[in-house]
């Protein structure tokens, strides 16, 4: 068995053992191992992909939420502003209305007072006429009996029934 000459027996055993080892290990070790490794790598890759996808979705969702929130806020502001405007308008309207109503009532009162006064004056004028006529009649009657007394009476009457 020299160092550089191949030996038939060892050659035979080496071929048999190595090929046997290769076939057995291929079936019972390398195939399951490489399959498991590939499967694990695929799992890790898909998990990473999913995480990335979820992250993107989350960002989109967050952006959506913010947009929604901003919209809601602006809507609320619009509603509040609208309500305030309406309230202000209503207040102003009612104030105007009350003012005009008051004015109208005042005007009416003034008018009716004027009318009343005019009627009163007319009444009074009529009464003064009647009174004057009565006085005149009484004076005339007294004159008929006593001249001086009649005169005195007229003066008194006139002074008493002074109009104010």
């Amino acid at each position: 068995m020299d160092l550089l000459t191949p030996d038939l027996g060892l050659l035979f055993w080496q071929v048999v053992v190595f090929l046997g080892l290769f076939l057995i290990l291929r079936a019972f070790a390398w195939k399951p191992i490489t399959e498991s490794l590939n499967e694990r790598e695929n799992n890790i890759q898909s998990a990473l992909d999913l995480a990335e996808k979820t992250r993107l979705e989350m960002t989109a969702l967050k952006a959506d939420n913010e947009k929604l929130l901003a919209q809601a806020r602006s809507e609320r502001e619009a509603i509040l502003r609208g309500a305030k405007e309406t309230a202000d308008k209503m207040l102003a309207d009612s104030r105007d209305k009350a003012e005009s109503e008051g004015k109208r009532i005042l005007e009416q009162a003034r008018e009716s007072m004027q009318n009343e006064r005019q009627a009163l004056v007319a009444q009074m004028k009529k009464e003064v006429v009647t009174l004057s006529l009565d006085i005149a009649e009484k004076v005339l009657r007294k004159e008929l009996s006593d001249k001086s007394a009649q005169e005195k009476l007229v003066t008194d009457l006139v002074s008493n029934s002074r109009l104010n």
Partner: protein, 373 residues
């Protein structure tokens, strides 16, 4: 890009390193052999120590496994001859150059002997014995058959979980073979060849490491073993070679017509040189490592022989330091050679199966490495 250039650098460093180790070993080999031949006759008497013989005895195959001096595990001798049929007996029957059944073991080689006791060179028989190397081969096969199905079971057990135990120890190496050797060298068709590359890598690695144990056989440093591995690689490359691979050999692109008579033979020689270089590289590196370590340890015994006990004790610490250092280098070489053999196999397969547009790059890369190797 970055990674491939790092790989290239590592590979070149490895190849240079390995060739240096090889050259050194050859020197040692000669040094070891010359005195052995010269002193062969001078030290005919027993008890004298011969480093060359000791080294050759350790790195060569043998009937019976000598774990320590004087302690040999007998192994079965299996012989087949046309006239006697199958003969099986223990190697212990042939120990100490005894003659058994007309067979005699001379320097690890079994010969038929005639009645008179002379070696009969005419007799033809085949020796299928379980030698030291075959026993070591079977041992490594058992280790691998226990180890890798256990790893595989780990994947079934820890499905969807983190790897544990032996599985997490070997997974990085398996991934290394797949991602750093098979994928970049072969390309997308790597899955078909991955089982062979993994078996090859771990076979060489396990046997390299086993060979470093004291008393172990020198299996990956045996030319027969590396020959079988190289021939299998050659057959795989040849039978998976596609149209572009053969076209490249028979009519290299971009070569002037006048150069074809030179280039085509060169390419054809290259086809055979590739497995040949694989065979010799692994054999030489591992054997060299063994020879260096044994030579260093042999220095102690030489010192004992030449200068007596005190000298040998005095030089022992120095020798042990160097032996330890070389053992560490051998540990590196064990991984390195497994890596190189597998990587080159993957690259040869890659050059045979790759599509045309990648062809030039692949061949160029390969060319540099095979020149360096």
């Amino acid at each position: 890009m970055m990674r491939s250039s790092i790989n290239k650098f590592l590979l070149i460093t490895a190849l240079i390193l390995s060739s240096l180790v090889g050259a050194q070993a050859q020197e040692h080999n000669h040094e070891g052999e010359t005195p052995a031949k010269q002193e062969g006759e001078a030290h005919a008497e027993k008890g004298k120590f011969n480093v060359g013989d000791m080294i050759m005895h350790h790195i060569k195959d043998d009937h019976g496994w000598e774990l320590a001096h004087g302690f040999t595990i007998p192994l079965p001798v299996i012989l087949y001859s046309k006239d006697r049929g199958l003969e099986v007996f223990s190697s212990s029957r042939l120990a100490h150059e005894q003659v058994y059944n007309g067979y005699k073991n001379e320097h690890g080689k079994i010969h038929r002997v005639t009645e008179a006791g002379a070696v009969d060179h005419e007799a033809k028989f085949y020796n299928f014995s379980i030698t030291k190397n075959v026993a070591s081969l079977l041992l490594s096969a058992i280790i691998m058959l226990l180890l890798f199905p256990a790893v595989s079971r780990g994947y079934a057990k820890n499905k969807g979980k983190a790897p544990s135990g032996i599985q997490s120890l070997l997974e990085p190496i398996i991934l290394f073979v797949r991602d750093e050797i098979a994928k970049p060298s072969i390309g997308p068709k790597y899955t078909k060849f991955l089982p062979y590359l993994l078996t090859l890598f771990f076979f060489i690695l396990v046997n390299n490491l086993l060979g470093l144990l004291p008393g172990a056989a020198n299996l990956t440093g045996n030319i027969t073993v590396t020959l079988v591995l190289a021939v299998i690689t050659f057959l795989i490359v040849t039978f998976s070679g596609n149209k572009h691979y053969w076209l490249h050999i028979l009519k290299p692109t971009g070569v002037p017509i006048a150069l074809l008579p030179i280039m085509v033979p060169v390419e054809i020689i290259g086809v055979f040189m590739k497995p040949l270089s694989l065979m010799i590289r692994l054999f030489a590196n591992i054997t060299a490592g063994h020879i260096i370590i044994l030579s260093l340890l042999g220095l102690i015994f030489m010192a004992n022989h030449m200068g007596g006990m005190t000298t040998s004790i005095a030089i022992s610490p120095v020798v042990l330091f160097f032996t330890l250092f070389l053992n560490l280098i051998e540990l590196l070489v064990a991984f390195l050679q497994a890596f190189i053999f597998t990587l080159l196999t993957a690259m040869y397969i890659g050059s045979a199966v790759e599509d045309h547009h990648e062809a030039d790059h692949g061949i160029g890369y390969e060319g540099t490495t095979s020149e360096l190797g």
